[in-house]
Structures are given as C-alpha cells and as structure tokens.
C-alpha cells in the first residue's frame, strides 16, 4: 500500500540520515553528551516515536548536510550546535514553531525578525537558506525519543557514580551489613570480590542495595514476594513448605520442592509464613531513606565495596 511504502521509505531514510548526521557531525557537539560506559542506554532505535516529526519524510541528504553547515554558521552560536539551546537562545528541538513547521514557512518570519521582542534578532538569510536550515532542523527533531527525550545518546559519558569515602564506607558496612555479610572470602554471605563483579558503580550500588536480585543468590525478582520461601500450617498442625506462587487475602498458592502446586483458601485456621530474604535490605533502605545522611552512607558503602576486587 501507498502509505506502507512511504512509511518504510521514511524509516530507511531516517536510519540512514540519522547515522549520517551522527557520524558526519559527531552527534552535534552537545557538551558532555555521549554514551556512557555503564551500558545503560540501549542501541538507538531506527524510529524513536510515531509522531509527525518522527515520521515525516526528510529532505535529501545533501540538503540536510548543507542545512547543517548553514545552521552551524548562523544559528549555533546562540542555539548551540545540538539545537538544545544556551543562555542566548532557546532549545529549538522542543520548539512548537519547528514541530508545526512543514518546509520552513514558520521559521522564515522568525528569522526575519518577528520575534525580535523576545530576543531573537533578525538575520540576513535568504528564504532558500532558511528552508534548508529548517530541513536540517527537522532531521534532528525526528530523533526526539519517547516521552520527549532529547536526540542523541541518553547518558552523559564519564559520570562519576562512586563518590563516597571508602574508609567511612567500611565503618558503615560494619554497622549496617556485617551481621549478615562477611567481607572475607569464604565468609558468611561473603561480598568478597563484589567490586570486580560489576563494571560500573551504578550496577554495583543497585546490586548491593537490592539484595538477592543483585547478588543472584536466589531467583526471585521484584518486590512481589513470588518465589520466596513459604510455610503453610493447616488446622490439623500439618505443615507444607515451598516457594510462594501467590498470596493474598483469599488464597495462598505454593510449589513444593517436588514441583507440585498446592492451593489453599485462606481462613483463620490456616497460618501462612512467608520469608522475605531481602527483609534486612528493605529495612536498611527504609532507614537510610529517612536519615539526613542516608544517601551519603549508601555512597560510602558503595565506595568501600568497589575496593573489594
């Protein structure tokens, strides 16, 4: 179908041009932007949304390349090379004028001075040049991501997540963690070597704060309790132990080690005891969340654990 063909063409163009813009222009010089080492940002999708600006056909590559030259020479000093603005000029990627523009018709009057009272002085540029710049700007706006995320990599490179004091962190570890965890190799629930296990500070911190999920001691995910050890005591005193499947006000379901599923109606004669292996971690997070220096304690422990290579 016509629309499908156009759409497919548009995607191909977007991918191609997106790459061209990125490689050719070195991802228009956003100071401090670029993919971080943390491996957080996924590969950029071919099409970052299905709004008009993401889907509209783009100009030919040579037009866009020329538009970028003109933009760099005439606009970038105020609006920044990446179009995201500076003290002297606003963010153009989020500009409703650009988003609603088709072929430069909404940009021409602004360049001619219609917004001089807002601090945008008139520029001496031909209509053709303005339209060419608009074509380039649309190619950048096409890369706006979901929920308005800016074009380009989503993470500033080289962010220093580990900022804590490792010495203070050892003391904090001893206070908050050592009743369950040893720092010695082979010790109780040892954290020895944890600093080498995670490639970046954020992953390390997320892992030790969250507990079993991060340490891979058990298979449970999230905070829902599924998979936690459970013991059900029936009216006659018999007990059944296994892994929790579901627990609510009305039923409790567990699987015993032989992989058999057991369901019970909840009533007063049934006692259910679920063990949360992360209970101590939850308690610690709650405590830290309410203390003025809680984040500092967390950062210090992270800095200490990072030294345990």
């Amino acid at each position: 179908m016509l629309r499908l063909t156009k759409w497919t063409f548009g995607v191909a163009l977007t991918v191609g041009l997106g790459l061209a813009v990125q490689l050719g222009a070195q991802a228009p010089g956003r100071a401090g932007r670029g993919r971080g080492a943390a491996g957080a940002a996924p590969a950029r999708p071919a099409r970052r949304g299905n709004y008009e600006q993401n889907m509209r056909p783009l100009a030919a590559p040579e037009v866009i390349a020329h538009g970028k030259e003109l933009y760099d020479a005439n606009c970038a000093s105020c609006h920044a090379a990446d179009m995201l603005g500076s003290d002297k000029g606003g963010n153009l990627v989020a500009s409703q004028n650009l988003l609603n523009d088709q072929n430069g018709e909404l940009i021409e009057p602004i360049v001619a001075g219609s917004q001089a009272s807002f601090g945008m002085p008139a520029q001496t540029l031909s209509k053709d040049d303005v339209d060419t710049i608009a074509a380039y700007m649309h190619s950048v706006a096409a890369q706006v991501g979901s929920q308005g995320r800016p074009p380009g990599p989503q993470e500033t490179p080289g962010l220093k997540v580990i900022v804590g004091d490792a010495v203070a962190g050892k003391a904090d570890f001893d206070t908050n963690c050592s009743s369950c965890h040893s720092a010695e190799a082979g010790g109780q629930r040892s954290v020895a070597g944890i600093g080498a296990k995670y490639e970046d500070g954020r992953s390390l911190q997320n892992a030790w704060v969250s507990g079993t999920t991060g340490f891979s001691f058990g298979g449970r995910g999230g905070g829902g309790g599924t998979g936690n050890p459970v013991t059900v005591t029936m009216a006659n005193g018999d007990t059944l132990s296994g892994k929790l499947v579901t627990e609510n006000e009305f039923v409790v379901v567990l699987t015993t080690p032989d992989d058999v599923r057991h369901s019970f109606d909840r009533d007063a004669n049934l006692t259910v005891k679920v063990t949360d292996p992360d209970a101590a971690h939850k308690d610690l997070v709650l405590k830290l969340s309410q203390e003025p220096n809680g984040d500092t304690v967390m950062h210090n422990v992270t800095a200490y654990l990072a030294t345990l290579k």
């Binding site: 179908m1 629309r3 956003r30 100071a31 401090g32 932007r33 971080g36 957080a40 949304g49 299905n50 709004y51 008009e52 920044a80 995201l84 603005g85 500076s86 606003g90 963010n91 990627v93 989020a94 409703q96 988003l99 609603n100 807002f118 706006v144 991501g145 979901s146 929920q147 308005g148 995320r149 800016p150 989503q154 500033t156 962010l159 220093k160 997540v161 900022v163 500070g201 954020r202 911190q205 997320n206 704060v209 969250s210 991060g214 999230g222 905070g223 829902g224 609510n248 992360d278 971690h281 939850k282 997070v285 709650l286 830290l288 969340s289 309410q290 809680g294 984040d295 967390m298 992270t302």
Partner: protein
C-alpha cells in the same frame, strides 16, 4: 438563589446552543439542530450520583463517586452475583477496523455478528495495534446503554446484558497511546478524545461520526486521552504532552467543537502571572503542566477545579533553583467555565523534580471543618500528600502525608505546600527517594463515613541523574532508577479534618474506588473485585475477575442495582441473585 441562576443559565444555553447549531450550515447528514434536542439534558448532570445512571466521568460533578443507591448493602452484598460478562471488545486495526488484531489472538472484531463498525480517522490503520481493548477510564451509563472507550476505539453496550451495539474505530496517525479516560455526553452527542489529538463527536444511537476537531497540535507532540466534561454549554477538553510544550485546558462549544477559551498551565507571555517562578519566559512556555484527568465542578460558582501535571524537563535542572515554584504546574486550579479565567490556584508540588504529575481527581465535600460549615475540595496526590482547601477561595486547610515512606520533601511550609528537598532529586551517585503513591485511579468519598478513600502505593528506589547537561534534559529524560523496593499497597481511608489515615486495607494493587449508600466501598485488590466496610476496611465480598482498569461503578436498571467493573477487555456486571425488594414485576429471566 444561586441555584436558580444555574437553572436559568442552563435553560438559556439550550436556546443558544440550538440557534448556534442552526446558524452554522452543519456538514452532518442529520438535521443540524438534532444534536441539541433530547437525549441527555445537561441539566440532569446537576443531580447527585444515584438513580440517574452514570452520565459523566465521575458520575456526578462532585467526583465523590458516592452513589445513593442502596439496594445492594451490607446485609445482602454476600448475594452479589455475576449477571453478565461482555464479549467482543476488541480494538480495531487496519483500514476497516476488522483486521487481525496484533498478536493474532483471534480473527477480526468479534462484536457478535452484525455489530456495525464505524470507521473514522486520518491514518491508514497501520499504526492501530488492535487486539483486546485496554480500558483505563470511566464507563457512561445513560438510559440503559453503556458507553466506553479505549485508545482509538469506542463502544456502546447494552447495560442489560453486555451486548455490543456499535463499535467506533479511529485510524490513528500515531502519537502516545496511553489509556483513554472516557467519554462525555450532551443530548444525543458522545465525545471522546483520541491520541492523535482529535476531539470526536459521535451520534450516541448509531456510533456514527458527526464531526471531529483538533484537540491539540499533533505535530507539537501532544497526545489527547482525557475524558471530556459537559458543564452547561461548555465542553471541557484537556491534553497531554511529554515534550517540553505548554499544557492547557480548553472549552469548546458542544454543538460544533468551536473553541470558547483556552487556559495555559504556564505563563506564555511577558506580564503573565507566575512568570517570576521561572528562570525565563522561554522555560515557562516550555514548562508543561498537562491536563489529562477530569476534575470536579461547582455549579453554584461555575468553578471547575482540576489538577495540572508535572513541569518539564521533569527530572533535571533547567527550571531554576528549587525556590522557583514553576507555576502553575502541579497545581490545583479553579477556572470559571464561562470566562476561562483562573479564580484561584494552590500548588501541591512546588518545583517538582520527580514527575509528580498532580492531576489526580479532586473531590468536592460540603461539611463541617473545625465545627464550621465549609465547601471544600479534597485531593490525594502522586507525591503522597493529601490536601483540603476551601473550594470557593482556594484557602488552604489541611496538608498531611498519607504515603508511608514519602521522603522527597523537607516537610511543608506555612501554607501547607511541600518544600522540595533538592538533595532528593535525581543525582549522579543516586538518591533514595519514594516512588508514586497514587495515580489516575479515582478516589471516593462517603458522606456516611465522612472518609476519603484512595489507593496508597509505597515504594523506595535509587534515583540517578544520567543526563548531566547543565541546560537540563528534555521531557521525562535524563534519569534512571534502581533497586526498587515495594513497601506494600493499601486502600486508605482518610479523615479530612485531620488528614490522618483512619485505616489501611492491604491490596496487591487498586484501580479506583466507589462508595455507596448501601454503606459499601467497592474497589480492586489485584485480580479481585472487593466490597469493603467503609468504616473499618474489612472485606465483605470478593470475586476474581482479573486486573481492573478503573474504579467500579453502579447503576439502576429495571429495579435492579448493577455493580459494574472492567477487567482486561471485559465488562463484568453484578446484581443481587435474589429478587430485589423494590416491587419489581416478576422477573422473566434470571440474568
């Protein structure tokens, strides 16, 4: 009497609306004036929720979601049984709306043989995902017919037995497809918004499109999903946008869709109030404050009270220091629906750094406060705080924290506004901070218990700043979360006099609440629909129907009180399985 003037203005508006409709040479095939006669009279919307169906998003203008129906009550709720389950609520896809749904679950729209599908929209159908409908809004019940909407789709359903009567399908141009919050009705017109920014007017009897008008700029990356609201001759329409664009609310003529006024959520020009709470006019003009959840209306003062969403960039710098409030984002706003002028505002989350998006439904309560009669507005917010204000003046009365682990603020100031703790914003090494406590799921208030009911979700996580650009990020960008811990979810009952939580009932999750004169509180607990004792929170009845999409509702039909819930893509209607006591004629069937 103020009441009289309301009735008068309502009568006047019928005249005006008719002449308006006649004046324009309507493009519709039906006579132009047909839309302004019969059907649901706007004056009937002034009635409190009860035996008049469920004619608006909240059921009535107060948004209490309290029904005066009491056939189902504490003495017989244990006999509440399933009357019917709907079938065939499948979203359309493809050029005709009958293409195979995404995932190939079943072939075509199974509306039950001969159900008409009416197609509209400016797309081709390729971007419509199809499949089981996603419901996250209110269902209207008017004269025995239910009207409900999902993104790009709307249906009429027989309220007696769940039969689908018609299906309207909109071929989308794209955009953000979050949940559609529901429809509005004015005479025989139905209205709903679609994600690609159109307000659509349908003929309620047939589902045929009468007209559509742009509700916002699709090119500007707005998305529209709020439930429109009818106040006399005003149809109030909101819009969402996650990119750095200004939020706004507008009023249109329900007959034609022509704009009557627009009120931006942020200052748009020099001299606008609130500009000094932004670092620049540019930042204010791009500061968001979306309007995607319906609010409450006071017909005596003509004030519509609604919440505005978060500022943008949502999580990063770019909106000045923490002392800049960024008005009028995250605020409760009272607007005069006749003029579009703001009467008062109260900011519930100054300088929001967490996407608190304070649009949650406010509730109007007339009652005693500190021994004095007050007209109040109550609101519980995503940031975990509960507020009581005088709804005529906006004067602050109560602020309390109902989220158990909320820690993003350094308490509240003398005016009750939370003071943001900037150390609890997203930081590069991470800060431990609470997550969303509630969201769009509608709260309820019972005048019997005098308690306010709302879901409470407790969680903490580490919030990281990933975009350290000193100019800030855009939209909701620039952050990531880790180590999320749930501290449990509850249905809360809050005493508005003190703001204190009177009881908590643990639930897996909840999608909104309904209270009734039968002294019952209906809501969800995970996959269960439950009825609780509103005074104590004790469970009185339950039925497992799947995860609910919105608050349960209730309506009266042929002598029976129905309790309606939506779970997955199905409607579940419950009635008492014994003959009711209101002298209904012999029941021919046992449905």
């Amino acid at each position: 009497m103020k009441r009289l003037s309301t009735v008068l203005s309502a009568a006047l508006f019928v005249l005006l609306a008719s002449s308006f409709a006649l004046a324009q040479s309507a493009p519709a095939e039906a006579p132009a004036s047909a839309g302004a006669q019969g059907g649901l009279e706007p004056t009937s919307l002034l009635k409190p929720l009860g035996d008049n169906g469920w004619p608006t998003y909240c059921g009535d203008y107060t948004c209490k979601r309290y029904s005066s129906l009491d056939l189902v009550n504490q003495s017989n709720v244990n006999n509440l049984s399933l009357a019917w389950v709907s079938e065939g609520l499948e979203s359309g896809s493809g050029p005709t709306g009958t293409g195979a749904p995404a995932g190939g679950r079943r072939g075509g729209f199974g509306g039950g043989g001969g159900t008409p599908t009416i197609v509209g929209g400016f797309g081709t159908g390729e971007l419509n995902s199809g499949g089981p409908a996603r419901f996250a809004g209110s269902v209207l019940e008017v004269n025995g017919t239910l009207y409900l909407s999902a993104p790009d789709n709307a249906w009429a359903v027989d309220a007696h037995d769940g039969t689908v009567l018609w299906h309207f399908y909109w071929k989308t141009r794209g955009g953000t497809h979050t949940g559609n919050r529901g429809m509005a009705m004015w005479h025989n017109n139905l209205y709903f918004e679609v994600a690609d920014d159109n307000l659509i007017c349908l003929d309620a009897a047939t589902g045929k499109e009468k007209w559509s008008v742009p509700s916002a700029s699709f090119a500007g990356q707005y998305f529209s999903d709020s439930a429109p609201l009818v106040f006399g001759d005003h149809l109030i329409v909101g819009a969402g946008n996650d990119e750095n664009a200004p939020g706004f609310l507008q009023s249109v003529d329900p007959a034609t869709g022509k704009r009557q006024w627009i009120l931006y959520s942020t200052p748009m020009k020099q001299g606008d109030p609130g500009l000094n709470t932004w670092p620049s006019l540019y930042a204010a003009q791009h500061g968001a404050g979306s309007t995607w959840v319906a609010g409450a209306y006071d017909p005596e003062t003509h004030l519509y009270v609604y919440g505005t969403g978060n500022p943008t960039p949502a999580y990063t710098t770019g909106r000045g220091p923490g002392t800049m409030d960024n008005l009028f984002t995250d605020s409760l706003i009272a607007v005069n629906v006749d003029t579009g002028k703001m009467a008062w505002y109260y900011q519930t989350s100054p300088h929001d750094m967490h996407d608190w998006d304070s649009t949650e439904t406010p509730i109007f309560v007339d009652g005693n406060f500190n021994g004095q009669p007050r007209k109040m507005v109550l609101q519980a917010l995503r940031n975990g705080y509960f507020f009581v204000l005088d709804r005529t003046t906006g004067k602050h009365l109560v602020t309390s924290k109902f989220g158990k682990v909320v820690n993003f603020a350094n308490g509240v100031n003398a005016n009750g506004n939370p003071i943001p703790n900037m150390e609890k914003a997203a930081t590069i090494p991470g800060s431990i901070v609470n997550g969303d406590v509630t969201n769009y799921p509608p709260p309820s208030y019972s005048p019997i218990s005098k308690l306010f009911y709302v879901e409470e979700n407790n969680s903490l996580r580490i919030l990281y700043l990933t975009d350290a650009d000193p100019r800030g990020s855009m939209g909701l960008g620039g952050t990531s979360g880790g180590a999320n811990f749930s501290f449990g979810s509850n249905i809360d009952a809050i005493d508005y006099n003190t703001g204190k939580v009177v009881w908590r009932h643990p639930v897996e999750r909840n999608a909104g609440l309904l209270s009734t004169a039968g002294n019952l509180l209906f809501g969800g607990d995970g996959d269960y629909l439950v009825a609780l004792n509103p005074e104590t929170g004790k469970t009185l009845w339950h039925s497992k129907i799947g995860a609910e999409g919105n608050a349960p509702e209730t309506y009266m039909l042929d002598g029976k009180q129905y309790v309606l819930a939506v779970a997955g893509n199905q409607l579940f209607a419950f009635v008492l399985n014994q003959p009711s006591s209101v002298g209904a004629p012999a029941v021919a069937s046992n449905r």
